[in-house]
Each structure stands twice: as C-alpha cells, then as structure tokens.
Symmetry: D2
Subunit: 267 residues, 4 copies
C-alpha cells in the first residue's frame, strides 16, 4: 500500500499479490490486519477470484489477487452455495494443508529444512486472516485451521459441511458441474478407482489449475469437499495473470499454459 | 480371529493388533467389517486404550489394541468429555493426517515411493472403520476423514468441536490436566513461542508418547484439539505392550523407554 | 526384443526404451545381460544420445534410447574427451544419485514409501549395466556406482577424473562450450553465487534438459564433473522423442517444450 | 578458540565440537582456515576419533571432536590402511552425501525448506576442509566432494579406491573384522539379500553407531567402501561424549545408548 501510487502511475492495471487490498473496508481490514495507510482505495479495489467475479474484473484497474488458502476454500465450497445446498446458516469446518512456499522466500528457524521437513504442524489454527476473504464471499463464518505439511508447493482444503436438507451424490455432481463446466482452470475429480481419486496438490503442481471434488457421508449427513491448488500459481501469480487477462480483455488463458516450478520440492 | 485359539493356548495373555476384537458385538462388527468367525469372543475381549480403561485391562486375557487413528482422536477429545465441556450432542469433526506405515509393510502401486511422496491425499474420507471405536468410546457419531501426507510414521488428529456452552482457555487447561496429569505417556503441548507449539508427530517419533493440545477460537465458538502419536508405537505395538504390562501387573512403562525406528522416513 | 517384429511392422521408425538394443554385439550383450533373442538386429540398431550421434540417427529405423544413468554420465564427460583433456587412459570414477522412478512403476518392498524415503542407499555399487554404454561411447572402463536418494525424478552424475596433463578452468569452459554451445537441450551451469551453482535434478525436473558443469580441484589435479537430467525425460521418453524427431527429419525440439510431471515427488 | 581459556578454567576436560583444534599446526590450519588466535594449543589438543586413537585420548584435557564427513570417511578407509591393502600411493575418491543438519541450526535462503528439499546439490565439490583431517590420518591426499541430499540427519561416504595389488572379498572381510571386531559403535554391513545391504544413514539415525561396508569390483580393480553415520551423533555430539568417556576413564558407551532425534526430518 505504501507504493501503490507509484505502481498505478506506472501501469494502467495493477494486480497486487499482497493482502493490502483484498478486503472491502477499513473496519474489516483493521479487524484482521493492522492499520491501512490508504483506506480510501479499499472500496475501489476488486478482489480477484476469476471464477467468482469475472464481471467485476473486466476493466478493473486495481486488483487484489485472492489469498491462496481462501482461493482453495472458496473454489471448493462455491458450488454448494451456488446450488442452494448450503445457505450460510450451517457450520463450515475448513482444514487446510499447505506447503512451505506459503511462508515466502525468506528464511527463519521454523522454515529451515531440518525443522520444516516431515511436519504435520498446526499453524494459524484459529484466526487465520484468509478467513476474512471466505467470509466476504459467502457471508458466513468459517471454522478454519491450517497445517504445514511436507511439500513445497500446494494448498489442499478439506471442507466438512452439514447441509440442512438431505442431498444425494447426484445433487453434488449437478452443482459442481453447473458451477465449473465452462471454467478453463477448474477440474472436477471425485471418486474413481485409480491412485488419484480426489483433488491433490501433486496433480496441479506448477499449473494454474484447481481440482475440486467431494464425498458424501450419509451416516453423519456430511459433505466432505476437497480442493487443491498450487499456491504459487492459482493461489497467487497465476491468479494474478488470469485476473489481468480479464481486466485487459486478453484471452483468459494467455500465459498460463506452462508449468512454472521454482521452487520445487523433491521432484 | 482364525488363529485365536492357538494363540490363547500358547499364552495366558493375548494382545491382538488387528481390528478383529476391537468392537463389542457381532452386529457392530458387521456394520463396519465383513463377517466375524468368532463372534462369541467379542464381548470377552477388552479394547485397550490404557489411559481410558486401565481397570478393565487388569487381568484381561484377550485384549484388542486400539486402532491408531482412533487412539489419536480419543486421546484428544477425552478431556472435553471427562470435563463436561462436550456431552455428545455436538458435531465432532475429526481430520486426521497419517504416514505411509499405516498402510502396512506390503507394497502396492499407491504405496510406492514415486506415487506416495509429497501427497496430501484424501483416503477413507468417509466411513473409516476407526469411527466405530470413537463412537464406542464417546457414544456419539464423528465426522471423520483421513489424509495421507508425506511421512512414514505418525498420525495427527485435528478435532474441530463446538461446545454448547462458552468455555475459556482456563477451562480447557483444567480439563486436560485433570485427565492427563498422572499419565506416563501423555504430554500436554498447547501454545508457547518456539517452533513446536502444538502436538506433532515429529516430536513423538519412535516413542509411546501421545501429545495433546488445543486452541480456543472465540470468534466461532470452536475448540480445535490437536493430538499426535507414532502409529507404530502408541498407535499399535507400544499400546499393546502398555496393555500387556497392565494386564500382567508389570510396571506400566516397562519396555517402552526406547525409541524404535524401523521403518523411518527421512531422518 | 520379443515384440520387435510387430512393432517394426506397425511403424517405420521404432524407438525402444528398454535396454534390448543398446549394445552393438551379442557378445557384449551377453556380458552385461542374459541372452538376446534377436542378436542379428544389434548391429542395425542405433543407440540414441542425440548430442553424440545425430548423423547416425537421421533416417534410422530401429533406435535404442540411451539409458538414464549412461546419458547423464556421457553428457558430463563428453567435452573432456572431445577437447582432448581425457584420452581414455585415465581412471574415471562416476558416482550417480537417482530417484525412485528409475525403478519403474511396479511395486516392491524396497520401493515402498516407508522403506524408500530418505535413503542414501547404494544400489548396483558395481557392475551396473549402464557401464556398458559408457564404455561403448568412450572406449574405456568406468568405475561406476549408483545410489538411491530421496527424490522421485532425476539422475545426477558426479564424475571424478584425473587428467594426465594440467588443465585450467579456462580450458574446461572452452571444452564444454565447444561441445554444447549449439545444443538445444544442454545447459552449462558452473559456479556463480546463488543457490543453484552446479547442475541439479530439481532444475531440470519435467524437462528434456540436461545440465552439465564442473569444478577444478588444483590440489589433487582432479576435475569434478556434474551432470543432471530428469530420468523420465532426457533419460528416457524425452530422449526417445528427440531421437525420433531427428530420424524423421522433424524439428528437433518438437513436442519437448512442456514439463511432464507424472509421477512427481513432493512438489 | 576465543573462549578456550574460560572453558578450560571451568572444566578439567574440554571437548570442542568446532574445527578450531582439529589440526596439528598453525601452518596446516592456515592452509584450510583463516588465522588461529591460539596456535600454541594446536599441538596439545588431541583429535578425537576414538576408534583410531583411544590411547591418546586417555587423560587428554583438550580434545577436538572429529568432523562429521572426516569421521565417516576415515572409518570407511581405515581397515584398508590397517590391513595393508592401501599404502597411500593410490588415488582415493570420496563422494559424500549429507543431510541438512550439517549446515547448523541457523537459517539461510539455501537452507530453507523450499530450496533445500529434494536436492542433489554439489556443495564444497573441491577444497572441503574435512580433507585436512583425512589427510592427517592417512598421510595422503583425498579427492573429496560433498553433496547435499534430502535428509536432515546423516552423512554417507562412498570411497572409490584402486589398490595396487589384487585383493579378494575375503581379504576385505578380514581387514574390516580385524579393525572393528571389538568396537562398540561400528557395525559391518556388506551384502546380503534384504532391503538394507550396505551402510545407510537411516539405519543409524539418532545413534552413535557407524556402519561400514564394501563391495569389490573385479572388472576395474576397484574397492567401493561405504560408511554411514548420524552427523549429529557419531559425527559430533556422540563422538564428543565417547571421547570424554575415554579421557575421564568412564565406561566408553556411557550416555550413548539412547536415540536422540532433534531435529528429525520426516520420521
């Protein structure tokens, strides 16, 4: 936010990868972060999760690319809200597993290889700032926890939700297809018999794809939704390019058909 | 179950590491597994999770060591039930992350190094058989999902629960201390400022210890409970030795003060 | 070799990824493998390491794609032979580190995640069959050992060689540039100040690139040569496509400008 | 070296884990390091690799624990020198693979999880300072290169040596047994049919054991020697305790019969 004027002077369209312009108001920002220096821009800026708000992005000049964990979560749950299976009154539990690149390129004791390898480490178990973005999208609270696991790239969200009315697997297929059938970067992966039956970060590594899928648990009337992205692509840089393409009227997929893989973990 | 007579003839005390004698009745067994050949023994056998049922284990001659994921989950949630913070009417969401040794020593395409490395892979997202053990312990249903992650040894349970009455962090400390203060194999890890702030499988690798901890999320009235064990020790062999020690009247910790580490992943 | 007639009937150009047609004579084959069923084809078949034998590949109808470890080794050492720095009378020590995909897609106890993770495991410490290919290329013996390490894709060869005459770093740069300056799939990486100073499998994962580099050790008159490839691409499938392109007169790089990443380890 | 007087005043026996007192003379130190502030102590200090110099350690008051990579290398090659199979005139090539804990507890970009995971990264390919210790032990030069691989604890040395006279596998077994049969912390692992046929860091993780083994390559008259230690134990802290035990006249194995595992990678 300190440099935003210089950036906007230099370019007609600015896509910010930080969290500075993701929320809509100063009050909301202050609830989750600490003091905004340019609050008057919060209303103008457009949050970018292209699958959700293409129309707003068209022609937008200040864009805030969605956060990685929020992106994974929103893409997973959206069909349930779109399809009327959830209405916001239900309890949403989101349990996210993330790779080490989410911590950025800096170094710290916690991010060193010796400490970070092989962990299943709760981090931000409550109060994670990406909750604000999910709440803004669906208008309801989320019980969100993140865990660091042993990978470099990737974020996988598992959402446990309990619809008020009974649903069938067919209802779920219908809702997911309705929401995503025309999306160039969303793949539906639900079931099957091979090794890859549900969304997995491995399957989208280096790409701008999101995988979403689900399983219905009849015994406890639960839907388990899975969503996987590469946090460095769909969760940040890829999403930014996608948003810029829409804003500028380019082909949506322009520049997004290769795999970018630095850093990569253990290939 | 096919060999149980031979085993019992050979030894006065038998601890079974399989799932054959964990449930209490043939009906319950048939609901989760496929056909029991010796159902008359189900009532006699004692489920072993020593922290929960020492008294029953004393002198027991047929013992079923608790399942790894059930052990992790039950140890995490028990203080909340013991302390009256949960009463069984609440929704319990359990999201477990497990290492590759849970799949046993056999080999399959899915368990090969190339396919299994670096995954965050939903497995048994619904209907996991260890749910039956949790249900038997607490008398209520659990929304349980497991994920394979990149480690060899270890199981970490994250339980998201929503108590009917408000609780404080002090209430939680009180409940966990009350349940575990005298336990030789349970460590309470909740918060702090170092790298290891919550239970982690890394911290208990090769040992019979369980780590349990929690975080209170005031914004959505949620308690997040964390529990970590080594599935090869506290989740199977260690638990079996512990149970045998109690059954036979030995020192409880006998034979459990070393680290056993085969297989180990990337040390 | 059992199916080679059917393959050749079906296609004008056959590129074999197995080791069946890599060696030149039945005698040589029998020394390293066990009995060839079609020895009359050994002379006809062309070994494919395009950087070394483009001319032979042009128009070839039976091509044997070079082995992964041989490819890494040959690409590393070739400039030293081309440039007259080595003449074949020197002792060549080759110490290779490989990922789990070199073992193929099958499953075994040794290749299971629990056993294979985190290893530095000597395998084929002597008598590795790829020695035969190196020997055929340079006309001299190689002291070759392979080690399994914790990655899925990749082979890295470290060659320790002791030239008879003193050389300078300038001589080495000259030799490597002379051999590879026009090659589309070879990158020279030698020194610098960042994290990536020498060839690494991570840097070529999913691609048909080979990285080669070196360091001169004046104190013991040694050249250490490093070479890294993705065994699934430059070490097999990519090399096969490259060879087919040459044989058929296509653009050499056709079909080789994307990253193929199944299986991938921990991205 | 700056604090050595204070340490020696505080304790009768000082074991230094740094490299400050490992070499014998100021000239040697200056060749490999940069300026010694207390050179007069270099002659007094005793280098500690207990399997090699127990007698000197007895009663020593200033001890320098051997470096991890030097320890692995020396333990592997020692039987060949002891048994007269090598005399120092041969070319010794040592190719070492090490875990991330060798870099210490600090953090840097290169040691961050995202950059360090899954590497086969040449580091110190020439001029590694531990060469000085190997040279001091055997009186000959070594062609030494180290590679970072994906593990946290462990160092594995592969030594390629070419004896002047033919040897048999029996000669090698004899030499290794003669040198190590009475050693409490050295295990001979050479061949067999299981998964663990040669020394491996996984097999000694958390312990003070070294594993050594070999393979004879008749085709190129080479002996390949393998040696594996945990760099945090046998390669530093364990070696220090072992040396202190000898110096003080305690039981040699005192305090060394448990597995210490922080940090551990992916257990």
């Amino acid at each position: 936010m300190e440099h935003i004027d210089a950036f906007r002077e230099a370019a007609d369209t600015v896509v910010d990868l930080s969290a500075d312009f993701r929320l809509d108001s100063e009050a909301e920002y202050d609830e989750w972060y600490d003091g905004h220096s340019r609050p008057e821009l919060l209303e103008e800026s457009v949050y970018a999760l292209p699958e959700r708000n293409r129309d707003e992005l068209s022609g937008a000049s200040l864009i805030a690319a969605g956060g990685c964990n929020a992106t994974a979560t929103i893409l997973g749950l959206a069909p349930l809200f779109d399809g009327g299976i959830l209405d916001g009154s239900e309890q949403l539990v989101v349990d996210v597993k993330v790779g080490s690149s989410e911590g950025g390129a800096g170094s710290s004791k916690a991010s060193s290889h010796a400490e970070r390898s092989g962990v299943v480490r709760p981090y931000a178990p409550t109060g994670h700032r990406h909750e604000a973005e999910i709440q803004a999208e669906f208008g309801c609270e989320t019980a969100f926890s993140a865990h660091a696991v042993d990978m470099t790239r990737g974020a996988a969200a598992t959402c446990h939700v309990f619809p008020n009315e009974p649903v069938t697997t067919g209802d779920l297929w219908g809702a997911f297809r309705e929401t995503y059938d025309d999306e160039p970067f969303v793949r539906l992966v639900a079931g099957g018999t091979g090794v890859y039956r549900y969304p997995e970060p491995k399957a989208v590594a280096g790409t701008n794809y999101a995988e979403v899928g689900f399983e219905l648990d009849p015994s406890n009337e639960r839907i388990v939704v899975f969503s996987a992205i590469d946090n460095m692509m769909k969760g940040s840089a890829g999403q930014a390019v996608h948003a810029a393409n829409i804003s500028c009227g380019f082909e949506e997929t322009a520049g997004l058909d290769f795999q970018g893989l630095h850093p990569v973990g253990a290939p």
